[in-house]
Symmetry: C2
Subunit: 300 residues, 2 copies
């Protein structure tokens, strides 16, 4: 078999994404062109998560401290909430070897670049990334090796970054089963605001709205949730710290998309109030058209 | 085997719900306590749907006109959009036999009662109903006999209605595989506004918002929809006429729930703008709590 892509890969943060990467790197799929890593070292700031990761056997080694985890690693992947990226990078970078690659999986890219770029020493290439994959579950038990199969992983390389390093990170995601695409960081944040961040904001909100209903109605929301609410709110089970950080770190794009959505919702509400049937049908038809496009794109 | 619940059942409107009822009535499940109907007569105003229903063989007989369909039926079930209920009931009632039961499956109950009650002749019992079941598909091809298995069917009987008729309609839904519950019409409309109508309004709206994005972003919404948007908008594929009518006929409750939701969304937006982490986490935690309750109730 070919040489591994990286002799040693360090994964920092063992939630859904991090523990899926270590699992995939530990167990190449049959027919995979190249192993991702010769050695997979994992680290999580929580001793309980470290212990669980050892029990699960999801890495060759689970380090007890972060410096030890990244020492001699050829690639260090940050899988922590975006609000922690700057702090964690500052802690790790002094212990990384020259020539190593730092990458991340954060859902917001401008904020991560803003925090990490000023910290970068010479000899460390930073390649910001974001695999578009996940479930509503979190933690080291939630990960699985096939999470990235057929999904996209977006890379938002720095303009003055190292193209060879970006190519190696792209290769890592391809070996995880994903397709990759490069994108401007600001454009990434705008697209993700509408395809992911706003839907999560709405799902969390409508759950709160339901939670505020008076006793009997509230119980009946739960009982009769199959009528749309249940599927609609599945994503509301996602990790709180991760999502708090995403909201705070993609504030501008998210608030802009929420403002557009709110205008559109108010326009539909007004049409309902005044019985403007043509407007209502037009909005519904547009929804169906988008859904059909999704189905044609083989995503649904 | 026991006598059928109804000697003749007429189903008016052969969309997802109507054609699922005829399929179930035509093919009792193994072990079913009692057949639903000795004869299943189906009717749809569209000649194309009539022809397709005949091809599919989803009823003993597909009538060519509505009067013929309901003549001698012991139970007539209206499965048309709620905006058409009054008109269709007015057309059919003169042809129904004394002692027959009229029922419906509309998603709004106050409006249907308001329209049908004044039309009722002596000798016809009206039992308003609403099976909480569906998919994002519509039309006679979309129905299937097991659609109602394990679902709820709500009945909102008139205060001066016939309890024996309500019991027979409840029995019909139970034979379809559903659990039944009686509810006040106004309460029904309020609960459905939050568990179904508002999620649909939001799903249609966010699709429109995405559809309005400039060229490249719009294409990328489709490409990267797996990040939440896709599942979140599944219900946006639902039938336009049905949903136009639901929105217009549950206006008060829906606009009230949208107003509450919008206040909650604005409060979360404000917390994001000003970095109120505790508020944000509280909202997310509440969303997760509701989701967990759904899972515990074995609905998810």
């Amino acid at each position: 078999m070919t040489e591994p892509l990286f002799a040693r890969l360090a994964v920092i943060g063992l939630g859904l994404i991090g523990s899926s990467v270590t699992r995939r790197a530990l167990h190449p799929t049959p027919g995979q062109a190249q192993p991702i890593a010769g050695e997979v070292v994992a680290y999580d700031a929580s001793p309980a998560v470290q212990a669980r990761a050892r029990e699960l056997g999801i890495a060759h080694r689970v380090a007890e401290d972060a410096a030890d985890a990244v020492r001699d690693a050829d690639c260090v992947m940050l899988c922590v909430p975006v609000g922690a990226m700057g702090r964690v990078a500052a802690e790790l970078l002094p212990h990384m070897k020259a020539g190593a690659i730092l990458t991340d999986v954060g859902s917001t890219k401008q904020s991560v670049i803003r925090e990490i770029r000023p910290l970068l020493p010479d000899g460390i290439a930073f390649v910001p990334g974001h695999p578009l994959a996940g479930t509503e579950y979190s933690g080291p038990d939630a990960g699985f090796a096939t999470l990235f199969d057929g999904r996209w992983s977006l890379l938002t390389p720095l303009e003055d970054g190292d193209p060879a390093a970006a190519a190696r990170v792209a290769r890592l995601w391809q070996l995880c089963g994903a397709q990759t695409q490069e994108m401007e960081p600001a454009h990434h944040d705008k697209v993700l605001a509408i395809v992911s961040h706003l839907p999560h904001l709405i799902a969390f909100t409508i759950c709160s709205t339901a939670d505020d209903l008076e006793g009997e109605s509230r119980a009946e929301v739960l009982r009769f949730a199959a009528s749309g609410f249940r599927d609609f709110t599945r994503i509301a089970a996602s990790d709180p710290v991760m999502w708090r950080d995403v909201f705070l770190n993609n504030k501008e794009a998210l608030l802009e998309m929420l403002a557009r959505f709110s205008e559109d919702a108010q326009a539909l509400a007004r049409a309902i109030r005044w019985g403007d049937e043509a407007f209502i049908v037009d909005r519904i038809e547009r929804g169906r058209r988008i859904r059909r496009s999704l189905i044609e794109l083989n995503q649904a």
